[in-house]
Amino acid sequence: MTNPFANTARLLTAGLRALIVLTVLTGVVYPLALTGVAQGLFPHQANGSEIRSHGKVVGSSLIGQQGYGLAYFQPRPAGGLAGNTLNTRYRLEVSGATNLAADNPKLVRAVEAAKAKIVKDNSVPGYTVRPSQVPADAVTSSGSGLDPDISPAYADLQIHRVAARNGLPVAEVDKLVEEHTTGRTLGFIGEPRVNVLELNTALRSLVAKG
């Protein structure tokens, strides 16, 4: 037999050459070709499904935003969302969940506080919210911190507040929510939901129309 070191070197060289050719194939040709196809066929989706309001980009229909005032529909909490701690020349939002356990007292307190706030914020003259009405998605943080949706139940609960704050008839806001409620895909895939940014964008147009 030949010298074992020469054998090992020969094998490692073959390994390196294999890695190089496969990198060209799966790490260069494949992603570039796919980007070409994606940009050609589905440029809107491939670039982040941006939506516009009055000619300006206001975000992505897929990415939830925080910081809407109480005149608008509120999104889910995002306790796991954080700013970046690395490469801080950028201001990035690092997606994520709280990862708090179901028996962590911190999470119990956060849920209870969120529930109390929702009851208080959404109880307006002539409409009182009961704690049992508040759905689970309204008081829990999503997995990504970027959940674009809320449940129809949480949207319904906010209708009276939004109507009052914007001086709109309740029925009109109710209709708006209904129009922006998406059912399960094919009737059984996923859960019914309301996209908050799309709903708020439509609400802003409605208010602007006066």
């Binding site: 997606s95 969940a97 962590n104």
Partner: protein, 553 residues
């Protein structure tokens, strides 16, 4: 329709889709690995590698080629991260620290995809696309190669030859993974997964101001991340991030991609060993465990026990509205019963028992249906053990698929099933005994212990998911989970290939009236039992300290 019924219908749809492609894909893969013809592209690739794809290898040669390729891959990926700061095309992201680079390099080469980093703030285009995503393909192809080598061990006789590693690697990548991933990626883009190279750019916000977004080749990576049972997310939130998994339909598609190759490989096994029914028996074992786990997960998550979930009125902490409890439960089981580790919801916030189910799924050795390739060889090892147990009961020399399971074969199978539990339990115990590592846990009490147990279970079984509250970016966890991944991947492979070589060298034993019929439901029952009992006994004490203590409190 209620959410429970919708969840059940999603499982049925998934099963229908998997059943539809089972025979065509499984048969196709059998042809891929047994065909004598080389495609023109493949000839170029072999020329590039400098290897003769028709040269048969005995098991030591097959193993050496595999290890050489993997060693070079680890080194390359390590250097790519260490040099990120000076490489072009990485939006000015700094180089990654040595411990984290080691951890990540090992993680992706071992098909684990454990991530102690957050993708969006750490890894630039070049590392993600030309480094990590490449390993998503080739580490999966390596897993399939080992599985096929073991199947050849059963189907060949009086030869020590197991095929050619380079040819198996190239064919798995080019003929199986690449075409399916490409189609899936286009579908993902159509549904909203991003695919661009726009770097980090400003996007206007509803209330005014702007936000900075990462662009990236996400769809192309997402498709192979699921198909190759890899699981390393482009973003920190993994498949919960709307840019990775935008709709309920893509969620179901991603679960399908995770499961499709591991399940269909049992067909490949049946075809290559000349008995489709042997493949069905293995498939039935996988499907029984998978369905059982999924049902249990749905039951516990819909019941939402645990003080915080009770207060909220539902187990939606860490879950997305569009997937709901049903879609999230199905995903969580699929990802932990395979070596995937992608998540569409965060396991740490599941009910105590739900978290335990994800852990137990990995502890079974990820065989229902398991990782791409690793699932098949893992369950075939368990089949060897089940046959041995049955042989002890009736007092006959055990045999499987016409091969004697003698002392040498049993020693190899026994070594195989000891490696991962030893790694999990020793590393977990060491972490808990030392003064500092337990400080990495986010949650108090039993759940804090579960975070550490989960980390090493995930690493040693090459899963990659986490109870992600654990701060794993410390020198201790980066190094120790790195070692657990490395040993958990390659040491079992040594035993598998040695077993394959030993089987391939035997002459077949004729089937007699006394032969255990391994294609019958009775054997499926025996195999399910062996898997659950062996794992249950190994891990029960550890599970009792973590998820059981939390879930039954």
């Amino acid at each position: 329709m209620g959410p429970v019924l919708a969840g059940v219908l999603q499982i049925l749809a998934l099963m229908g889709a998997l059943a539809l492609v089972y025979i065509p894909l499984g048969t196709y893969m059998a042809r891929v690995y047994s065909s004598r013809r080389h495609l023109r592209v493949e000839r170029w690739l072999y020329k590039g590698i400098g290897a003769d794809p028709d040269a048969e290898m005995a098991w030591p040669a097959y193993l050496r080629a595999l290890l050489a390729f993997s060693a070079v891959s680890v080194l390359f990926l390590y250097l790519l991260q260490r040099l990120q700061g000076v490489l072009p095309g990485s939006p000015g992201f700094a180089s990654v620290s040595p411990a984290q680079s080691f951890n990540t390099a090992v993680s992706f080469v071992t098909n684990t995809n454990w991530q102690s980093y957050s993708g969006e703030q750490t890894m630039g285009h070049v590392v993600q696309t030309a480094g990590l995503a490449v390993q998503n393909f080739v580490s999966a192809a390596v897993g399939m190669a080992v599985a096929v080598a073991l199947v050849r061990g059963f189907s060949r006789s009086r030869t020590g030859e197991l095929g050619n590693f380079w040819s198996d690697l190239v064919r798995g990548t080019l003929r199986v993974l690449l075409p399916v991933a490409a189609v899936a990626a286009v579908v993902l883009v159509a549904c909203g997964t991003i695919q661009n190279f726009s770097g980090i750019h400003e996007v206007g916000q509803f209330m005014g101001g702007t936000q900075q977004w990462n662009g990236g080749a996400v769809a192309s990576q997402e498709a192979i991340k699921e198909l190759g049972t890899n699981g390393g997310g482009y973003f920190n939130a993994n498949s919960a991030h709307p840019f990775e998994n935008p709709t309920p339909f893509t969620n179901l598609l991603e679960i399908f991609l995770i499961l499709v190759i591991p399940f269909s490989l049992t067909r490949t096994f049946g075809v290559l060993t000349g008995s489709a029914r042997q493949g069905y028996a293995v498939l039935a074992t996988m499907a029984t465990i998978w369905l059982g786990f999924t049902a249990l997960m749905m039951a516990t998550e819909f019941a939402h026990h645990g003080p915080a979930l009770q207060a909220a009125g539902g187990a939606l902490e860490g879950k997305e509205v569009r997937f709901g409890v049903g879609g999230s439960s199905i995903f969580a089981v699929a990802t932990t019963l395979t070596s995937t580790g992608a998540v569409d919801s965060f396991h740490s916030s599941f009910t105590g028992l739900g978290g335990g189910i994800t852990m137990l799924g990995m502890m079974l050795g990820e065989i229902a249906p398991g990782g791409v390739g690793s699932g098949l060889y893992g369950i075939l090892i368990m089949a060897v053990i089940a046959v041995f147990i049955a042989g002890l009961m009736v007092g006959r020399t055990p045999e499987y698929l016409g091969k004697k399971i003698g002392a040498r074969e049993m020693k190899l199978a026994a070594c195989y099933i000891l490696v991962t539990p030893a790694l999990v339990l020793v590393f977990t115990a060491a972490s808990m005994a030392l003064p500092t590592p337990p400080h990495s846990a986010l949650n108090p009490g039993a759940h804090g212990f579960s975070e550490v147990l989960y980390a090493f279970t995930s690493a040693a079984n090459n899963n990659g998911s986490a109870f992600a509250g654990l701060n794993a970016n410390t020198d201790w966890f980066n190094t120790m989970t790195g070692l657990a991944m490395l040993f958990g991947r390659f040491v079992p492979m040594v035993f598998v290939l040695a077993l394959a070589g030993s089987l391939a060298g035997q002459r077949p034993v004729p089937v007699t009236a006394g032969t255990l019929r391994t294609e019958k439901p009775l054997f499926t029952g025996l195999l399910v039992g062996a898997i659950l009992i062996i794992t249950g006994l190994t891990y029960f004490p550890a599970l009792a300290l973590g998820p059981l203590a939390e879930g039954l409190a």
